[in-house]
Amino acid sequence: MAASDAYLIEAIGRGDQAALGKLYDAYGAALNGVVLRVVGVEEMAQEVLQDVFVKIWRNATSYDPSKGRPFTWMLNIARNTAIDAVRRPSVKNASLIRSLDSTVYGAGHDDLREGIDVAGVSDIVAGLKPEHKELIDLAYYKGYSQQEIADNTGLALGTVKSRTRAALLELRTQLKDYR
């Protein structure tokens, strides 16, 4: 799968519009899920998703296969674009920023779950230990750096790193079971 994805991205880099269409068919829904989980509002997510694919189109030649899988590259574009959209200061997004901040300060409590439920995303991290779920959400879906998470939760940076690690290990175990 990764090899054909890399081929698609190379084709996109040459200006092949049909290749971008194929990439969208394969991953549009997955990336939409990621974006929706970050921004929480379906209409906004679809706007952001357009920007994501335009960025993929523009930057396809900068994808470096030696640094990681094509999907990881796209995923990080999607996350960063979504996080930027949420953090952009505008009236439209003000409420999202507020909920984002309260998520960090009161991390792991109801408002985090609420955001996910509003998004309508199936909560695949629900089975994780609460502290692991919290870390994955903050780091992965809310775009906070490990340092920011440490600053805002009062945890030591080393603890944040080791818990992120443990959280992903737990996730991997679950995914293995799921398969």
């Binding site: 519009q17 335009v54 990681g68 995923l75 992903l168």
Partner: protein, 269 residues
């Protein structure tokens, strides 16, 4: 740092999430190049995140795809292919978009050339226009001069052709023997016009003066202006009645009585 320490540090997760600092990322990439276990671990983290994302997929509205394709189609025409044009090192790249790009560049170059030619032409036309404008004003000035000359000639002709005008011929006397002048005298209008014809210029500080002889008495009829190069009739003082006209040389500005020893022209009415 050993591979195991790196794997357990949590840094690889941060690296995959794009959250490692440049120094950290450089460390990960260095270790990955030499330690297969690091690469395997990164791959496993990536696979886990990918699976998670695929499981959390939410199908967007079909309008999103067409909106994206519209946007990139616009970009493909405007900038992307032009930027890529110099990269065409392999033959496969001569697709429709690059043809379009080449055509766009050609059109741009052609348009620039046409603009340049038009600009130069405009410049020339402006220069030509300025020259024509200059010529026109010179001609207009000339026309004004000619028109004045014609009006003057018309006036003189009117005097000469006036059926009521009496012509008095004045003949040279003494030193002016052989010279002559003429007077056109309209008695109804009392107008006297003097035609100096070929009279020589008077001596320095002197001027010709016209006299009308009325019942044997000389009456001043005005000074004669002999402006060199300006031939033509000169309107003199009005004279209602005279038996003869005479011209004497007087000091400039004229005399109340004629110096008869300086009589140069004389004519009977």
């Amino acid at each position: 740092m050993t591979a195991a320490e790196l794997i357990n540090s949590g840094l690889l997760e941060a690296y995959v999430l794009g959250q490692a600092s440049p120094d950290e990322a450089a460390l990960v990439e260095r270790m990955r190049a030499t330690e297969p276990s690091v690469g395997q671990e990164i791959n496993a983290i990536e696979a886990a995140l990918e699976s998670q994302a695929l499981r959390g997929a939410v199908t967007p509205s079909p309008a999103v795809k067409s909106a994206i394709l519209d946007r990139i189609a616009k970009e493909a025409v405007s900038d992307t292919p032009i930027l890529k044009l110099p990269q065409g090192e392999d033959g496969r790249r001569s697709n429709g978009i690059n043809w379009l790009a080449a055509a766009s560049v050609a059109a741009l170059v052609l348009s620039a050339a046409v603009n340049f030619l038009q600009y130069r032409e405009l410049h020339e036309v402006r220069g030509e226009l300025a020259r024509l404008e200059n010529d026109r004003s010179v001609l207009a000035e000339e026309l004004k001069v000619q028109r004045t000359a014609v009006e003057r000639a018309d006036q003189q002709l009117a005097v000469v052709l006036d059926p009521r005008a009496e012509v008095v011929r004045l003949n040279g006397m003494g030193a002016a023997e052989g010279k002559s002048a003429r007077i056109y005298w309209d008695k109804a209008e009392l107008a006297v016009h003097f035609d100096p014809q070929a009279m020589p210029a008077p001596p320095e500080g002197m001027q010709y003066q016209l006299w009308a002889l009325v019942d044997g008495q000389p009456v001043d009829a005005g000074m004669i202006a002999l402006e060199t190069g300006v031939p033509g009739l000169q309107r003199m003082k009005d004279i209602p009645e005279a038996q003869a006209f005479a011209v004497t040389v007087e000091k400039a500005g004229g005399s109340p009585t004629p110096n008869l020893s300086a009589l140069v022209l004389m004519g009977q009415v």
